[in-house]
């Protein structure tokens, strides 16, 4: 057997690529991971954005990492530790009367007794319904119309799980799973601040407003992996570093600054990849953790695919609407009415659902929000590796910032950055004078820097029509693509985005199963 005969190349060293590599190597495969950036991690990465200031440049909270992966790959002994765990959420109010959300308990903001009770019920059914997704997350989606026993069993199990919710919960699940989160929250709660904060669960990282259909589905997806919010010590990059350590120990070759320019074909099957510098790396199996559009339209090329499939790929909805703000601060910012201990919480600017919906309205017409929503963390509070003593970093996910901005991002980026900082200053009045450096990553920047088509965090909208056996598209949703030897393992595949690693693990299983045939 020649080297190419059992060699597996993985395109992209994001967390899913690394997870997939580790599992394949664990099963005895010879694996090379090719990462275009200087360091592995993809969107789970820690970067120095100003001298002495480090921040999680993409995702900034860890809450969906697959427990199986953490255990099976022994990530804790490979260097994964946390500076914060089980974080609470504080919904910021302009008048300083903030709302603290810790699990199902609520404090402050003159919250009513009704809301206290409703929150417990909301958390109960969200966890119960999300449990259905949770069980699906860890396996290859079944194929519709297949007569394969495994597929039929998987479909039957899912149906059974829904049925086992019982009459009332099943009816409620079927009623709300496809609708918008605005209606569901409106039915359950009174406090505008609470509803605003909870509505972000349905819209963060998406192209949706609270009143868009599918927003409830997104919230359920988020809950499905939820294990409490945490921040890894050293930023999100440490998750990737731990994964890279495990992979390397299992014999995976990881090459950084190795940009794949195309996937090579020999007849009807892949034969390897070619790097930007012309180097050709032979492989019998190529696994891409890049998003489906980049993989198929960019690296493979339409001529190797059939037209109907090409159209499906090019129609995947994946235009980012989320920006990331990083501030280097000369001291801890002071928020009106917020204790210093609460600064380590997940802080939200979403005063009510109408505010969030209005912020989204702009995006529909290719404009950025004039009053954006934000999810803020100050990770340096509990982690001194991110900034020098006394200095701090603030990391915020900001919406809405449409990828296809009518006026173009070069013209608007500086204004938008200032606008977000002005918004922060309403809650933390002294913040202007503390800023040493600021960085805003728009979807266009995210597309360029992280090589994600459209700059969409989740490699494609999370929606019922782009989920399970429909993610990224039918005939490609079981990690194997229509092209022999080419597999997907990224967030564009089931179960989608969020730092979960499940796509990588499921893909590894699918690849190993296909090679056993």
């Amino acid at each position: 057997m020649t080297r190419a005969n059992n060699h597996i190349v993985i395109i992209g060293g994001g967390h899913n690529g690394l997870v997939c590599a580790a599992y394949l190597a664990k099963a005895g495969k010879q694996v090379t991971v090719l990462e275009a950036a200087e360091q592995v991690g993809g969107l789970a990465v820690t970067q120095e954005f100003a001298p002495g200031f480090n921040v999680s440049a993409g995702a900034h909270l860890l809450f969906m990492l697959d427990k199986n992966i953490r255990k099976e790959l022994r990530l804790d002994s490979a260097g994964l530790s946390f500076s914060q765990q089980d974080m609470s959420t504080t919904a910021l109010a302009e008048d300083g009367n903030h709302l603290l959300i810790a699990g199902d308990s609520l404090q402050g903001a003159d919250i009513s007794n009704n809301d206290q009770v409703a929150m417990k019920e909301y958390q109960r059914f969200m966890k119960r319904f999300a449990g259905i997704f949770n069980r699906l997350n860890n396996r290859t989606p079944p194929r519709i119309g297949s007569k394969n026993r495994h597929d039929l069993l998987s479909l039957a199990k899912t149906a059974l799980q829904v049925r086992l919710l019982g009459k009332n919960d099943m009816r409620e699940f079927l009623r709300i799973a496809g609708i918008n989160i605005y209606d569901v929250l409106q039915e359950n709660f009174e406090s505008p601040l609470l509803k605003g904060a909870l509505s972000l669960d349905g819209v963060l990282g998406t192209n949706l407003g609270p009143r868009s259909n599918n927003s409830m589905f997104c919230a359920l997806h988020r809950f499905s992996g939820m294990q409490g919010m945490s921040v890894p010590r050293g930023g999100m990059g440490s998750v990737s570093k731990a994964l890279a350590n495990v992979a390397t120990n299992k014999g995976v070759t990881i090459r950084t600054s190795a940009t794949v320019s195309r996937i090579l074909m020999e007849g009807d099957r892949v034969s390897g990849v070619e790097l930007q510098d012309g180097e050709k790396i032979p492989a019998v199996t190529v696994v891409s953790s890049a998003d489906p559009k980049t993989t198929f339209l960019g690296l493979l090329g339409a001529r190797h695919m059939e037209a109907g499939f090409t159209r499906k790929i090019s129609n995947i909805r994946m235009r980012g609407n989320t920006a990331k703000l990083h501030l280097a601060l000369d001291g801890l910012p002071e928020f009106n009415g917020l204790e210093q201990t609460q600064l380590g919480d997940r802080l939200l600017i979403a005063p009510d659902m109408e505010y969030v919906e209005r912020a989204f309205n702009h995006a529909k017409y290719g404009e950025r929000s004039s009053k954006p929503v934000a999810e803020i963390t100050i990770p340096s509070l509990h982690d001194d590796s991110l900034a020098a003593p006394g200095k701090h970093v603030l990391s915020a996910i900001v919406q809405y910032a449409p990828y296809q901005l009518k006026a173009g991002w070069p013209a608007e980026k500086a204004t938008f950055t200032d606008q977000i900082i002005d918004l922060l200053a309403k809650y933390a009045p002294g913040i202007h004078s503390q800023i040493i450096h600021k960085e805003l990553l728009t979807p266009v920047d995210i597309e360029r820097e992280f090589r994600i088509s459209g700059g969409h965090w989740h490699h494609g909208e999370l929606a019922i029509d782009q989920f399970l056996m429909l993610r990224p598209v039918p005939h490609c949703a079981q990690y194997a693509s229509p092209v022999n030897g080419l597999f997907l393992c990224g967030a564009g595949s089931h179960p989608g985005g969020g730092v979960m690693g499940s796509a990588g693990r499921n893909a590894a299983n699918a690849i190993l199963a296909s090679q056993r045939l």
Binding site: L297, G301, R303, H304, A307, T310
Partner: protein
């Protein structure tokens, strides 16, 4: 005269377009009956379909092809684009040549058949009966090609029959007799360019003439002037229907349903099921339907499209086909009395494995005499060759008759 005037943007109000030849067709159309072909008025017959048929087999006839859907494909990736689109190897169709093709969905189901004209390097015209703009545009994703529909920008006539070459020579197209079947040549004609291809839908010696619509009328006039002593006649689609069945040509909507117009997958057909397996080339790289067709080639197909020679003189239109043991195995999709073969002939779709050459079958024909219906179980034989295939069809240089 252009078929459509876009200038005042009211063209969409037009219910049926007049062909650029309409001013000449209209006075000749003694029956005053017009059919519809892709939103154009198209005569079923001018005076008598049988006479028009005989003109084509014994002299020559003119059929207005303008309504046929035409696409212009050009650009750096034009060849790669077409090679991914159709099942045969387009690189074998050299500049100045025409190729018959079939194209499929991802699932290997036939969307349509048609002809590809290789006009020049990286420049092609594709002709088909049905409209395919959406599918052809879908196919452009990832290819550096430009695709435009030119149905209304190109006027076209088919001149078919034994005296067609003599007529064209008479009209002044010097050397046209040397044009080989499926070849293309250009002639200067009335201060414009006339494209002539030796192609057709009749299975006879014949040509297709392509010109800009402003010169349509003068082309018609000059053609009839030149063909006057060669028995030229205008022909409608009824005569063409007889001619094409004799030649064994299938037609979308008659012998198969275009895959994009079917609701039920089982009503679509693969190239193998239409007898077009010879157009599928697995030696070339990826094309739409390749995987599915490879599997079908290995596991077998469900239907056979066959030619039937049926006893008697009753047309077998829409008939059921049975085995000799009266087992229902298929239906007739096109049928006609063939004046040239002096036989009742048909194209039929049979469930595989039925339809082997020489197989004897029964065709259930219903016919009416003075409102009285009768039924006959006519014996039929599956034939392998086409019903009418004269040597003059291929002979080069083409002879005068």
């Amino acid at each position: 005269m252009k078929a459509i005037d876009y200038s005042n943007k009211t063209h969409y109000r037009t219910k049926a377009f007049h062909s650029p030849f309409y001013s000449r067709q209209e006075p000749m159309n003694q029956l005053k009956e017009w059919g519809r072909w892709s939103d154009y008025l198209s005569p079923h017959a001018y005076s008598c379909a049988s006479m028009e048929y005989f003109a084509c087999r014994n002299a020559c006839s003119v059929f207005d092809l303008t309504p046929m859907t035409k696409y212009h494909i050009s650009g750096k990736d034009a060849l790669a684009y077409l090679n991914r689109l159709v099942t045969r190897d387009v690189s074998k169709i050299k500049p100045g040549r025409v190729g018959y093709c079939v194209w499929c969905t991802d699932e290997g189901r036939v969307i349509d058949d048609g002809t590809i004209f290789h006009l020049s390097e990286n420049e092609y015209r594709m002709c088909s009966q049905e409209r395919h703009l959406d599918w052809l545009l879908t196919n452009t994703i990832g290819f550096d090609v430009s695709l435009t529909e030119e149905t209304h920008e190109v006027a076209a006539l088919a001149l078919q029959g034994p005296t067609s070459c003599a007529t064209l020579k008479q009209m002044g197209l010097e050397g046209v007799e040397n044009l080989k079947p499926f070849g293309i040549r250009y002639f200067s004609f009335e201060n414009t360019q006339l494209m002539v291809s030796r192609t057709g839908f009749t299975g006879d010696l014949g040509y297709e003439l392509w010109i800009d619509p402003d010169h349509a009328e003068v082309l018609w006039d000059r053609l009839f002037e030149a063909g006057h002593l060669h028995g030229i006649q205008a022909m409608g689609d009824e005569a063409l229907a007889m001619l094409r069945v004799e030649a064994g040509f299938i037609q979308a909507g008659h012998d198969f349903m275009p895959a994009h117009q079917t609701v039920r997958v089982s009503h679509t057909r693969s190239p193998y099921e239409l007898g077009l397996g010879w157009l599928v080339d697995f030696k070339k790289p990826n094309f739409n339907g390749r995987k599915a067709l490879l599997a079908e080639k290995e596991h077998g197909h469900r239907y056979n499209l066959v030619k039937l020679d049926i006893e008697g003189n009753k047309s077998a239109c829409d008939s059921y086909v049975f085995t000799k043991n009266k087992k229902l195995v298929g239906t007739v999709t096109s049928a006609t009395w063939s004046p040239s073969a002096k036989a009742s002939i048909a194209l039929a779709t049979l469930e595989a494995p039925f339809g082997r050459p020489g197989e004897e079958l029964l065709v259930e024909i219903y016919y009416q005499k003075e409102l009285k219906w009768s039924r006959v179980m006519a014996r039929a034989v599956v034939v392998s060759g086409v019903f009418f295939d004269p040597p003059r069809r291929r002979q080069t240089p083409a002879a005068d008759y």
